[in-house]
Amino acid sequence: MNPTRRGLLVGTAAAAATTALGACATSATEGDSAGKGAVSAENPLGVPADANLEVVVFKGGYGDAYAVDAGAKYKAKFPKVTVDHKGIQGVGEVLQPRFVADSPPDVVDNSGAGRLDLATLVAAGKLKDLTELLDAPSLDDPAKKVRDTLMPGVIEDGTFDGKPLVLNYSSVVWGIWYSKSLFAKHGWTFPKTWDEMLTLNDEIKKAGLHAWTWQGKYPEYLNDPLVSLAAKAGGFELVKSIDNLEAGAWKSPAMMAAAEAIYQLAVRGHIMPGSEGLSHTEAQNAWCKGQVAFIPCGSWLEGEQQAVTPAGFDMVMAPVPSLTGSDKLADGAVMATSSESFVVPAKAKNVQGGLEYLRILFSKQVARGFAENAKSLPVVAGATDGLTLTSGLGSVAQSVAGAGANVFSYKFRTWYAPLSKAVDDATGELATKRINPAQWAERVQKAADAVAADSSIAKHKR
């Protein structure tokens, strides 16, 4: 099973939904950190050398080899203890009674369909503040703090009411995919700007191929390039104004231009006919068969298509091109979020051990194993340096490296599901030319205003 779009959304939904609720949590009771041993350069978190460690990890699409690996390294460091590793599904079912009884494990990867609701855990003060870990020296380079070894946005993803309580392990990046070999054969290069994209699309059509397809049955797939283009043109301020439901944000020039850009694909006949009726597998398979040049998707595509990708296809992902000549974000800016939520329960018996385990888990060496086994990008910066990556994963890593600090993500999808649906519906209509960009913006803005005015929907700010 590969991590799918919907799985990821569900995973990040919980993380995102918590921010406002966290604000109500009056007291995040810090667990009475049972034993703390002597602090040293080797043991900066003061882990007691004789306290056992219990780790419960969600074993899903990414497997749990990386967590087992971290456990083995922990054991090597503290030979007197036993490390009890459990890789399970249905994390919530197993752990709910233990959280209620305040006898939780020392580390939990709270992920997968049956995970516990993070909002509830945060509000009840069941999670340990991870600041101590983030400020500890990293395992790879003691001169660097753990917080400085992570990709941009990762700590923010797990911060609630100003407190870092969750650390996500896997990075998800969105972009536009194409076959390197197909492009080499025709002498095409991936466009830098949207104008170049449209020009290249005409050329692709002349070569007898379709330029674009998309997973029409789930219109959110085409939203990703649309809102990415808008973010590039409008910068972080635009992203924030959208997420904060500011009046007229969806009608801002950058957003309108992005809608126009996607609309042009439809107007100019750059989209494979019938795409609007294809499921994600049907569209992706048509692309893998070389009938289509581009498809928008997240970084899981390579894993998802593994079984049907012909040899020598060499799929690569590129960040969405710049929208205008005067974009606010730099060229390589890319949309990314993270998943696989690791937490240390506040009432764990061995809190310091839990933190130390995470320090090991978020080291380059363990993260490399994750990249190799799970074919996904870990959030540890530079973890994949020097590895021979598959063509897709390599391109994803390259995109992230190239983006630097220009990594953005929208929260509205997970904060406001009704708005998310309205955007999906509107984009589906836009891509079939049943509405134009002005009507698109009108509709979506109306939906955003409705959410803002609905007192039954909890509001969030960023």
Partner: protein, 291 residues
């Protein structure tokens, strides 16, 4: 003796009634209660908010669209299924093979039916478009499930297709119980096939038709599984195939508004109930006694 009888009845009924109460009535009562709350489904905190959920429902464009679509299905599905099933049942009297074939869709789970038909409708490699091209009707090709004007009809067609088999068998069985001598007498009196059907057969199997009407009405108020699996979105494109069950499901599990979703459930419950009563009332005919 009497005493023993009651003891027996009590012993036999206690367990089933208790189970019925616990597993059927209790959840119903809970849903009725939740319909008046703002329960989010994940906390133990539940606030009573009066009839807010119900007033919200009548101004919720999505729920109203769903209501319209279910209404359309209610008009189309029972009528089409009953007419076709009656025709097939009458036309295949005595040939059991066809009836077995017609019954096949009934053996498939609704999920499989939905997936199969999704493949039939898929634009570029689908059976339907392929067939049209084969017949030289290229201009009739469509993205069937992705066009707002067509999508709901495509779903209705599948609903009809999957329901017909059962009612062919039901009506055929009912027709078999019509005494042959009445039919023969009618034939001798010079009644044509159509007259026999209209004047003899139909009145004598009216009970079955009445039952069919109610069952199909309830089926038409649902349609959730087909829409959820087959359609764009699901419920699209642009909400053109939204049905009440889907709105309810999304409200509960995507929007985490279990109170509001329960209110929708209560509304659907009363709609179905009203429908059944109305159907029984308006399709009532004088009973024909066969003696």
């Amino acid at each position: 003796m009497r005493h023993g009888k009651y003891r027996f009845l009590l012993g036999a009924l206690t367990l089933p009634l208790a189970l019925y109460g616990l597993l059927v009535l209790w959840p119903y009562l809970q849903a009725f209660y939740l319909a008046f709350t703002d329960w989010t489904g994940v906390t133990s905190e539940v606030n009573l908010i009066g009839i807010d959920n119900f007033t919200r429902m009548w101004s919720d464009p999505l729920f109203l669209a769903a209501l319209r679509h279910n209404g359309l299905m209610l008009l189309a599905v029972p009528l089409a299924v009953i007419v076709v099933a009656l025709g097939l049942a009458a036309g295949t009297r005595g040939t059991r093979v066809y009836r077995v074939v017609y019954f096949f869709p009934q053996l498939l789970s609704v999920a499989i039916i939905a997936v199969l038909w999704q493949f039939v409708y898929t634009p570029n490699s689908g059976l339907l478009n392929g067939l049209l091209t084969g017949l030289g009707l290229d201009s009739w090709r469509h993205s069937w499930l992705a066009e707002p004007d067509l999508a709901l009809w495509c779903v209705i067609a599948v609903l009809i297709w999957s329901a017909i088999g059962f009612y062919v068998v039901l009506f055929a069985a009912a027709m078999e119980s019509v005494p042959a001598d009445i039919m023969e007498a009618a034939a001798i009196d010079g009644a044509g096939e159509l007259t026999v059907f209209r004047r003899i057969t139909l009145p004598l199997i009216w009970d079955s038709v009445q039952v069919a009407w109610i069952y199909l009405g309830i089926l038409a108020l649902d349609g959730f599984a087909l829409v959820q699996i087959m359609t764009v979105g699901p419920g699209g494109p642009d909400n053109s195939t939204e049905v009440m069950g889907l709105t309810l499901y999304r409200t509960a599990f995507t929007y985490s508004k279990f109170g509001y979703a329960s209110a929708m459930g209560v509304a659907i419950f009363f709609l179905s109930l009203t429908l059944a009563v109305l159907m029984l009332k308006f399709t009532r005919r004088e009973k024909v006694e066969l003696a």
